[in-house]
């Protein structure tokens, strides 16, 4: 009798444990399957174009010649712009929330910024295309074209048609999208600094600027670096918002006002319309590229953050 009870108990216990184990293992299986299925789908394109796929600016469904360079350029430049704009902004907001603002204000402002993270990316896209782009064209691009036309480097960057959409606009919209996560991580990092450090710095007569810039920010340098990499990973893979505002042109330009494309936007725009196999395969090759890039970036971010936790 008792062995029977023991046996059935052992049985249900193992069953439960095995079910849980398989569910956890499924995550690994899924990731490997995603990689393999992309690799499988991308194979014809990779076989045909080889490493040249990475560097070719050709994207021509008629001649069936495909290269990733335009899309890669768009993805990298727009994400870089996004980090460039979002980092100082979120540093300032993070400092404001932890060091300057009174507690009640800090709480509610932080909650509002977090809400920004909940807004779906398609909404950012619509807002970017229909509200931000016209405003940006009228109030920045026209002015910048005029003001920087004679300046060496800036003149080159800020040239082209002031249509509102393009590389710079998608960089800005991406910056708004990664702002909440970056702010939250920076705020968290700043709040781990023990108060003694602040007291000591203020005690020797430093003011807020000096305490922040020379003591607090250097102390959380590595955490900020990890946060930036994490935000970069988000920006690289973002699809819908970029698809709306980047302009959708298979082109590579130094001008940031020109319409361009990104890896994810190219896939989103063309995958359902692609009819010949090489086109589909090339789009899947772009997907594989995106998978590898974001995986590498996120892995670096995670390893950086884990190291920080240990030390």
């Amino acid at each position: 009798m008792s062995t029977l009870v023991m046996k059935s108990r052992w049985h249900s216990d193992t069953l439960f444990q095995r079910a849980c184990w398989s569910s956890a293992i499924l995550i690994g299986v899924l990731l490997v399957s995603i990689l393999l299925s992309l690799l499988h789908g991308a194979w014809p394109a990779l076989e045909k174009f080889g490493f040249g796929f990475l560097f070719s600016t050709e994207w021509n469904p008629i001649t069936s010649e495909y290269g990733a360079a335009n899309a890669l350029y768009g993805t990298l430049v727009s994400s870089f712009i996004a980090i460039l704009l979002a980092l100082p902004l979120s540093l300032a907001i993070g400092v404001f929330l932890t060091e300057l603002a009174p507690a009640w204000m800090s709480h509610s402002v932080a909650a509002a910024i977090e809400l920004l993270a909940a807004v779906p990316s398609i909404i950012y896209g619509m807002w970017g295309l229909f509200v931000f782009a016209p405003w940006f064209s009228e109030h920045f691009q026209l002015w910048a074209l005029d003001a920087f036309s004679e300046v060496p480097v800036l003149g080159l960057l800020f040239s082209g048609p002031p249509m509102g959409v393009g590389l710079l606009t998608s960089g800005i919209i991406l910056a708004f999208m990664i702002l909440p996560i970056l702010t939250a991580l920076i705020k968290e990092a700043l709040s781990t600094i023990p108060n003694v450090m602040r007291e000591a710095s203020y005690g020797i007569g430093a003011n807020r600027w000096e305490v922040t810039f020379f003591v607090l920010l250097p102390a959380v340098r590595s955490a900020i670096f990890g946060a930036v990499i994490l935000a970069l990973g988000r920006a690289l893979g973002e699809t819908m918002a970029v698809t709306f505002v980047i302009g959708g042109a298979q082109d590579m330009n130094t001008s940031l006002f020109m319409p361009a494309t990104s890896v994810s936007a190219t896939i989103a725009e063309q995958f359902n319309e692609a009819t010949n196999d090489m086109h589909i395969s090339s789009l899947l090759a772009l997907g594989l590229l995106l998978f590898v890039i974001t995986f590498a970036v996120m892995a670096v971010a995670r390893i950086l953050m884990r190291k920080r936790k240990l030390s």
Binding site: S12, A19, S23, S37, V119, I122, I123, E238, I267
Partner: protein, 277 residues
């Protein structure tokens, strides 16, 4: 020198304040746009009529219902698997090598671009079925929800005090009973919060649905057929030159954002309410 320090300090503080105002004004601007453009189309017909052909009037009923069906199916697939996966990480895997690898991969899956999930499900499901389907959309959404549920479940279970487990085991309960009857009950609010967050995460997803469920301009409840849904409808209607479609896109956008913000707020309020009781 003293003056310069003072001025730098002032400029710095003003800059921080200014940055915060910029961040907040983006939120306000987006919400303002949604309300001012979306409210005009908030009529009863939005909920009763299906998406119209070009140039005629209609609503979003089929898209809302399709989104509701696919989101529910996605959550129904992801929730049990996610809860069990999180349970394994917290209760069985703990600090083992396998568990930390799974944790790492779970984080990777969570931050994988959602469009890649769409491509994956297209390759696995859509190609095998031969056409887009509601099932494919639900599976894509489930894969996105899964890592969120796994990590919240694990976090919550870790908070359950060991004494509770010991009390259960001491009474002779087998481990699975301790976990399900004591552990899950102790973290029930946390589990619901995690699932609410997962719903919020997937209900705005557009990219993974483009290649899986696609869209359907008719009312269809059959998950074996392409299924209408709000995000893809918004995308297609917003990009078109048709004005009635644009108006419907804005109304849909307002609806979807309000839903997601409400889900987020309730996931934040729920633990507090539960504590008070």
């Amino acid at each position: 020198m003293r003056l310069r320090r003072k001025i730098t300090n002032m400029v710095f503080q003003l800059a921080c304040m200014f940055a915060t105002i910029i961040g907040l004004s983006v939120l306000v601007a987006i919400l303002y746009t949604l309300v001012s453009k979306g409210l005009a189309g908030m009529q009863w017909s939005l909920f009763t009529e299906i998406t119209p052909g070009p140039g005629s009037e209609g609503g979003l009923a089929n898209a809302m219902l399709g989104s509701l069906i696919m989101t529910s199916m996605g959550i129904l697939i992801a929730a049990p698997i996610g809860v069990m996966g999180g349970t394994w990480l917290a209760e069985y895997g703990a600090n083992s090598k396998v568990a930390s690898t799974i944790r790492f991969l779970n984080g990777m899956l969570m931050s994988a671009p959602s469009i890649l999930i769409g491509l994956f499900v297209y390759e696995m499901v859509v190609i095998n079925m031969g056409h887009f389907s509601g099932w494919a959309g639900a599976i894509a959404l489930a894969i996105i929800a899964l890592p969120v549920i796994i990590s919240t479940t694990e976090e919550m279970l870790k908070l359950v005090p060991t004494s509770l487990r010991e009390a259960g085991s001491g009474l002779g309960a087998p481990k699975w009973k301790v976990v399900t009857l004591l552990g899950y009950r102790a973290i029930s609010t946390g589990l619901v919060t995690g699932i609410l967050l997962a719903i919020a995460r997937i209900s705005g997803e557009t990219a993974p649905l483009l290649f899986t469920s696609m869209n359907n301009s008719f009312m269809s409840l059959d998950p074996n057929q392409p299924m209408a849904n709000l995000p893809v409808t918004i995308y297609q209607f917003a990009m078109s030159p048709d004005e009635t479609w644009n108006q419907l896109a804005w109304s849909g956008a307002l609806l979807i954002t309000l839903t997601i913000l409400a889900l987020n707020l309730s996931s934040r309020l729920l633990p507090r309410l539960a504590k008070r009781r």
